[in-house]
C-alpha cells in the first residue's frame, strides 16, 4: 500500500556471482532447449525484492536500502545486488 509517507519505492535485484554454480538456472535452461529455444544460453536465476521506504530524504533511503541489502537480503560470498529507488509523490 502506498500511503502519503511512503515516498520511495525500492526494487532490489540479487544475482548470483558469475563464478557461483547455478544448478537451478541450468535445469531451467534444459527446459528452454526442450522448447526449442536453441539460442538461449547462460540462464541464471536471481531474486527480485520490492518494498517502500518511509522517508523523503533520498540519501537516507539509499543508505537504508544498501544496508538492508548487504546485511540481510544478499550474502556477499555468493551474491551481488543492485537497487533502484523511485520517488513516489
Amino acid at each position: 500500500m502506498v500511503t502519503e509517507n511512503n515516498l520511495f519505492k525500492a526494487t532490489v535485484i540479487i544475482k548470483r556471482r558469475p563464478k557461483i554454480l547455478d544448478p537451478q538456472g541450468k535445469a531451467v535452461e534444459q527446459g528452454a532447449k526442450l522448447l526449442g529455444f536453441n539460442n538461449v544460453r547462460n540462464t541464471r536465476i536471481g531474486k527480485y525484492i520490492e518494498f517502500f521506504v518511509d522517508t523523503d530524504d533520498k540519501s537516507l533511503a539509499e543508505k537504508e536500502v544498501k544496508e538492508y541489502s548487504e546485511k540481510l537480503l544478499s550474502n556477499p560470498i555468493m551474491e551481488d545486488f543492485e537497487f533502484n529507488l523511485e520517488h513516489l509523490k
Partner: protein, 231 residues
C-alpha cells in the same frame, strides 16, 4: 561436573526434539530447550543449533534466524570460547552469522538428499573428535542446501589451520566424487572455527545415538565434546 546442553528452538526447527532426546535419554546429560526470542543461555555449557527449516528457509537458509535475539548471546558465548555445535540448518545459521566461514549453495543435483553417508575424520585435535578412535563415521544427511562453498583463500586457510573436520568419503575413508552427496567443495561435510570451539556439520549425529536404530556413531561426537571440555 555434569555439563548442560542447550538446544535452541527457532520457528521451523524440527530436529530440536531429536537432539534433546539423544542427549538426555540416550547419553544421560542435562539438556534444556532455549527459545530463540530469549537472550539468556540459562547457564548452558554446550549450545546446539539444531536442524530444520528456520523461518521456512526463506531468502536463504539461516539468513533470518541469525538475527533472532538469542543469536547475540550465542555469538558472544562462542567468542568467549564456549562450545557451539550447528547441525544442518544450525550449520547454515553459523555460516550466516559469520562464526564459521563460507556459504551453503543448493545441492548440485537440485534434490533433497536423505541417506546415510560416510565421513572421514580429518582432524582429531579438537574437542569434537579427540576421543573418537574410528577414522570413518556413518551418519545420515537430510538437506537440500548442503553444497559448501567458499573462495580459494578461505579454503586454503581452512586446510592450513586444520579446520576441515569431516569429508564425505567411501566406507573405507577414501574421499571420492562419488561419495559427495551434494557437490560440496572438497567433499566438505563439517568444519570448525580457528579457535576450535565452534563446529558446523551437515550430517545429523543426533539421529544415530540410540542403539535401537542400529547405529550409534553420532553419540561418539557428543561424548567426545563432553569428555574433552569438562572432564
Amino acid at each position: 561436573m555434569k555439563p548442560k546442553f542447550g538446544v535452541v528452538v527457532f520457528p521451523g526447527s524440527n530436529c530440536d526434539h531429536d537432539a534433546y532426546y539423544a542427549i538426555k535419554k540416550i547419553l544421560g546429560f542435562n539438556v534444556e530447550f532455549l527459545w530463540h526470542k530469549n537472550n539468556n543461555l540459562n547457564g548452558c555449557d554446550i549450545i546446539i543449533l539444531p536442524g530444520g527449516f528456520s523461518y521456512g528457509d526463506y531468502l536463504r537458509t539461516g539468513s533470518i534466524a541469525r538475527f533472532s535475539p538469542i543469536m547475540n548471546s550465542v555469538y558472544n558465548f562462542a567468542e568467549n570460547g564456549g562450545v557451539v555445535i550447528g547441525i544442518c540448518n544450525g550449520f547454515q545459521i553459523l555460516l550466516e552469522i559469520g562464526l564459521l566461514p563460507g556459504v551453503m549453495l543448493q545441492n548440485k543435483s537440485l534434490k533433497f538428499v536423505c541417506k546415510d553417508v560416510y565421513l572421514k575424520i580429518e582432524n582429531h585435535e579438537n574437542v569434537f573428535t579427540k576421543s573418537i578412535t574410528k577414522k570413518v563415521l556413518k551418519i545420515p544427511v537430510a538437506h537440500g542446501d548442503g553444497n559448501f562453498f567458499t573462495d580459494e583463500q578461505i579454503l586454503k586457510e581452512l586446510e592450513l589451520n586444520g579446520q576441515i573436520l569431516f569429508r564425505y568419503s567411501s566406507p573405507e575413508g577414501v574421499v571420492t566424487e562419488d561419495a559427495n552427496p551434494n557437490g560440496s567443495l572438497m567433499n566438505i561435510a563439517g568444519i570448525i572455527n580457528r579457535r576450535k570451539n565452534v563446529m558446523g556439520l551437515m550430517p545429523h549425529p543426533e539421529r544415530c545415538c540410540d542403539s535401537l536404530l542400529g547405529n550409534t556413531d553420532g553419540s561418539l561426537i557428543f561424548n567426545s565434546v563432553v569428555e574433552n571440555s569438562f572432564n
